[in-house]
Each structure stands twice: as C-alpha cells, then as structure tokens.
Amino acid sequence: MRRTVGVAAASAATVMLVAACGGGGPQSGGDQKLTGNKIVLGVLNDQSGAYSELSGKNSVKAVEMAVADFRAKYGDRAVTTDISVETADHQNKPDIANTKAAEMYDRKGVDLILDVPTSSAAEKVADVAKEKQKLYFNIGAATTTLTGAKCNKYTFHYAYDTYMLANGTGRSTTEQGAKNWYVLYPNYQFGQDMEKSFSAAIAAAGGKVIGKDAAPFPNTTGDYSTFLLKAPTLNPKPDVLGTMQAGAELVNVVKQYNEFKLRDKGVGLAVGLMFLTDIHSLTPAALAGTTYTDAWYWNFDARNREFADRFQSETGTRPTFAHAANYSAATQYLEAVQAAGTDDADTIVTGLEGKTVEDVFLRNGKIRAEDHRVVHDAYLAQVKPQSEVTEPWDYVKVLKTIPAAEAFRAPSSECKL
C-alpha cells in the first residue's frame, strides 16, 4: 500500500513537473517534453475469451503497425523514437480491467489506453482515466454511456456504439420496407440497450415492433427454437427478425434461423452487431442477404484494401473494424503528440477536440468537443450470397454509406466533460 501511494505520488509529481515545463512550446527543438522521453501505448482487451478474435492480440499488432508507420513517416523528426506498446488481458471482467488500467497508467508509464471491449469493463476504465487524468480511446465497447453518464475529459469513444448500430440497421431496414419487426435480445445490459435503441430507431422510421423476447443469457442450452418457431406465427407476421445476440450466441441463432427456414417463410434477418470474424465462422452461405451496420470494411476501397493487405501479411487474417480502429486511434494519438511536442494529457485533449480527421478508418471523421464521440461515416452492409464470394474474407457488399453527421446521436445532455 505504501509503495502504491509512493508510486502514485511520484508520478503525480512528474506530471506536475512536466506540466510546469510545458510552457516552452512544442518547437523547442531538442528539449522534448515527454514523460521519461518516451511514449507508451497500452492495449487493454480480451486476449483469451469471446472477443479475442474480433480484437485481441491482433489489435496489439495493429497498434504496433501504427507505431512502425509513425517511425517511418517522421524518422529523425519524430518527437521521440522510444515508443513502446504495453498489453494486458482484462478477461472481460470489470474488476480486472480496473486494476490493469491503474497498473498501466501508474507503473508501466502508459500515456494512452486503447480498445477495452465489454461495456462494463469499458466504463470502469473511463473512471480510472478520469481519476489519473490520462488518455483513453475506447474502441471495442458499444455502450453509449461512454459519451453519456460516464463521459469525461480524458475519454474518447472511437469506433461505434449501440446508437450507430440501431440507427443504421434498424432505420435503413425499416425504410427499405421491412415495417414489422420481431426483436430477440439476450437478457443483459448490452442486449437490453440494443433492444431499446433498435425499438426507437424502428419507430422513428415508421416501423413497428410486433413482438420482442428476452432470451436467457448466457443461454446454456444454446437453443433458440422456441423464439424462431414463434416468429412466423405472430400477427401480423413480422417482415424481419432482429437479433441482438453476439458472438457464439449469434452463431446459434443464425444456424437455427436457417434450420427453421424462416427466410423461406418470409421473415428476413437483421443482425444488431456483427464482426467479420462472425461471418467467417458462420460462412456467408448461412447469412446471405443479411443486413447489418459496419463501422469499416476492409474491401470497401483501395485505401482500406492496402491496409488490409499489410495487416494480413502481419497476422495471416483480414482486419475487423476493431483492428482498423485501433490502428487509426494509435496513429491519431501519435500525430497529436508530434504536433504538440508533448504527451501532457490536457494539451493533447485540447489539440484533439473539434479536430477533423481523415485516415484509413475515419472517413469524414471528427472528434466532437462536446462529448468526445469520434464521428465518422458508417456503412450499411449486406452479406453476399456464396456464389458472389470470389476471395476469402470478402463476404460483404456495402449497400450505402451513412454520412458521419447522421450515423451517430447528437451529443447527450447527460455528458458533462
């Protein structure tokens, strides 16, 4: 305990010292204003559990790619050549995320924590960032509380959230004629949030939720047939089944959706949250025609593809949007430090707020000053039929781009930075 207090005091003193020297300005040549004359990036995510493939170790690789690219771009002009990447497994547990985040900031000298999937863990880390006054870019979590009740000066929400998913899939699908919905969601925080967001988006677009059911979570039996049998018997018959399940549960729902041939019975499928890795494990044949909202797609254009090719040569697989977003977030942070000439968190925040950004992940990107939501173009995507899949991992066609201004919710009044 005494040791922790000592370390905390020492780091606080260092921060104050650096802050005090910060007046010198960024162009002061050799006199760099970096803590320890180095930059440390911390990737805190799930490296062994349910989200380890859609993000996990390959997100660490993506951040390392960003560091390598930064070095190559600036060479001797770089603010420092001493940039390292720390990483930890939070196992999707909020208490572990809490401890690891504090350890990263205090003991490992981490300047920025990245990723942090699982909403409950993500919220804990936001509290730690606020307390330690250090930067945190969340990529992996979906909860809108990060830009609502839990928002703070040092936390930025980078890639997506439940509003973006519902607004994309729920609204677009309804506008395209699927007026009547049956919504199936897992009975826990994420599922309940998704159901609320979807119901609101569907109603706003003139649709109606005919029925909704909370499936047990975790669903120990892996069986969803009761709900799938019920869907076509509702009156009026729903045009589409909206499933909010994720990961292995989504796989179960989709397998059984196909078994019961709901598409042939006139009930389409819309998925709340899906990653490229989910499509890969279900095969495109099982999902053909399914629409969902994607934050980024690797084969969308030449620029994305070039990044995806490099990513594949590093990891052997194509990137999910979470991988690309981690790369982008690390890059934007390093650029901000380079421009400011310091890693002082408050200075970096000031530099980032209101900034417009265009990179491989962020299209028409803007870092909103009001709530630190990073807005950017999102995409309404549809899974191709097997016959149109011409190369591995190219499973999706983008139906339309949802402009950055419409993709995310307006800043919430709950957020006071």
């Binding site: 349910a50 669903n219 892996g222 049998l229 796989v251 078994e259 989910d278 494990s281 095969t283």
Partner: protein
C-alpha cells in the same frame, strides 16, 4: 395447438442431447462412483472432431458419426487406465478435481489451436430440408436427431436388460461388493464402461455440430444443465437419466414458449425443478434411497 406440438417436439430434441449426455454420466457414476466433470469437454471434442475431420480430411458427417464416438471411447478408456483408476479408492473429490482440471486443459488446448470463434459446420445435405407433418413442418435434421437419440437410448436399454454384459453392469452398478462376492470380476468392466460413457458424449457432440455453435466452450455451459438432469433423474439411475433428460427438455421448451414474459423463469426453471425434486425425493426421481448401513 400446432404451436404446442411444435414446442413439444423441440423440447424433445433438446431433451435428446440431455438424455445422451446424462446416460453417459449415469453409467460412469454407477460403475465407477466418479462424477465425470470432463463430460462436457468430450461433447465439445466430438463436435470439434467432426469439424476437423471435415475440413482437414474431407470426412463427411456420417463417417464422423461413427469415427468420433469410437475414437473418443478409446481415449476415454486410456484416460481411465492412466489416471481415473488410480484415484477411485480415494475420496470422490479427487476424481472430481482431476476431471475438472482435465476439462480446463482440453478446452484451452482447443482454444490454442482453433481460437474462440465458432467454427463452421453445415447440416449434411441429405438432412437439410424439412419434414411436413401436415399441421406443421419441422427441420429434417431435428427429426433425425430425435429418432437417432431414441434409438440409441433404446439400444442401450436392450443391451443392459438382455445381454450378459448388461446384467453384469447393472449388478455392479447397484451392489458392486455383492457382485464381486458372486465371483464376477467387476474391475474388468470398469474401463469399457467409462469408454462407453465418453463415446456417448462424443456422439452427442457430433450430432450438435450442425445446429449449435462449435467452439471450445460449447460443453462448459451445457454440462451444468446436464448435471441438474442427472440429479433430478437420480444419480446412477440409467432409466432416470434418460427420462429426466427428455422431461427437462420439455419443461424448458414449454417454459420458454408460455412464460416468455418472464425470461428469468425459463433461465432458472431447471434448477427450480432440481431443488423441488431434491426436497421431495432426495435420491432423485428414479434413484434408490441409500439403505442405512
């Protein structure tokens, strides 16, 4: 009415998995007094084995349905000889810990090689359609599972009641010492019975591959329910495990269908039933009360 029949059918299909898994657990417990916590892991290995056979060697579902249970039965027998056998004389807790540890090792080995993302496995094309029952249609594959599981259960029942092997197994399940006293070498049958139980778990795994997510943790969740089924049926009771398996499948399906406004009910109904059964009949529905010594 149609809806009720559909839900009943569904419950029986879920119940078929419980029955196959619980049956394996029951014969193992009866013969060895071992609560085999690794049963879920072998179920997972059955499904994964089918996936690996298909993708690495092009072995179709039908062949996997034979290869995996036999292969896993051999693995099970080796396991019994190498480890479990050494601990049966000690407190049952030791084997519980052994099989629990084994579960973690098996799960993580598969995770290491194949990751946590579910692996794709298609329904065999011959069973991909639906069967029309007049009032409703039902996926052919589910009808097949139900028929197949019932056939396996009946087959095991026949084996136990009509063959000499069955007689020995039943006798040594109920009164091992007494059977021994009649000059029957009970020890000789322990290893094959363990292998048989594991083979049933593997079989259930192969059957699950086309309709459930195939991933390293697929057995970990399911096995908790199966343990409840075994307890409800009566530990070691072979008939009880099968009856409770199908029964719990039905209760769950009806619960989900008719109490859908209370998701918490369908989530916990199995354990509520278990608690009630234990209060009413501590040895389970078909279990025999231990005679006071």
């Amino acid at each position: 009415m149609t809806g009720f029949l559909q839900n009943t059918f569904n419950g029986l299909v879920s119940g078929a998995f419980y029955a196959l898994l619980a049956l394996g657990l029951a014969v193992i417990f009866g013969m060895l007094r071992v609560v085999n916590f690794a049963h879920g892991a072998f179920y997972m290995l059955g499904a994964f084995g089918a996936y690996v056979l298909l993708t690495e060697a092009g072995v179709p579902f039908w062949a996997a349905l034979v290869i995996m249970p036999l292969g896993l039965a051999v693995v099970g027998m080796a396991l019994e000889r190498a480890f479990i056998h050494r601990l049966t004389r000690l407190d049952p807790l030791y084997n519980f810990l052994l099989t629990f540890g084994l579960t973690l090792i098996l799960q993580d080995l598969v995770k290491l090689r194949y990751g946590v993302q579910s692996s794709p496995y298609q329904t065999p094309s011959a069973l991909a359609g639906s069967v029309d029952f007049g009032v409703f249609d039902f996926p052919t594959y589910r009808v097949f599972i139900l028929g197949f599981a019932v056939a396996v259960c009946v087959g095991v029942w026949w084996l136990l009641t009509n063959t000499r092997i069955g007689m020995v197994v039943r006798a040594s399940t109920e009164r091992p010492e007494l059977t021994q006293a009649f000059g029957i070498n009970v020890g000789r049958w322990v290893t094959p019975v363990f292998g048989f139980g594991i083979g049933l778990a593997g079989l259930a795994g192969v059957l699950a591959a086309p309709m459930r997510a195939v991933n390293p943790l697929m057995g970990a969740d399911l096995i908790i329910v199966v343990f409840a089924v075994v307890v409800i049926g009566g530990l070691g009771s072979i008939f009880g495990s099968v009856a409770a398996g199908f029964g719990i499948g039905l209760v769950q399906a009806w619960g989900e269908a008719y109490l859908s406004d209370f998701p918490i009910v369908s989530q916990t109904i199995v354990f509520v039933v278990m608690a009630v059964v234990l209060l009413w009949r501590p040895a389970g529905l078909f279990g025999r009360e231990e005679a006071p010594a």
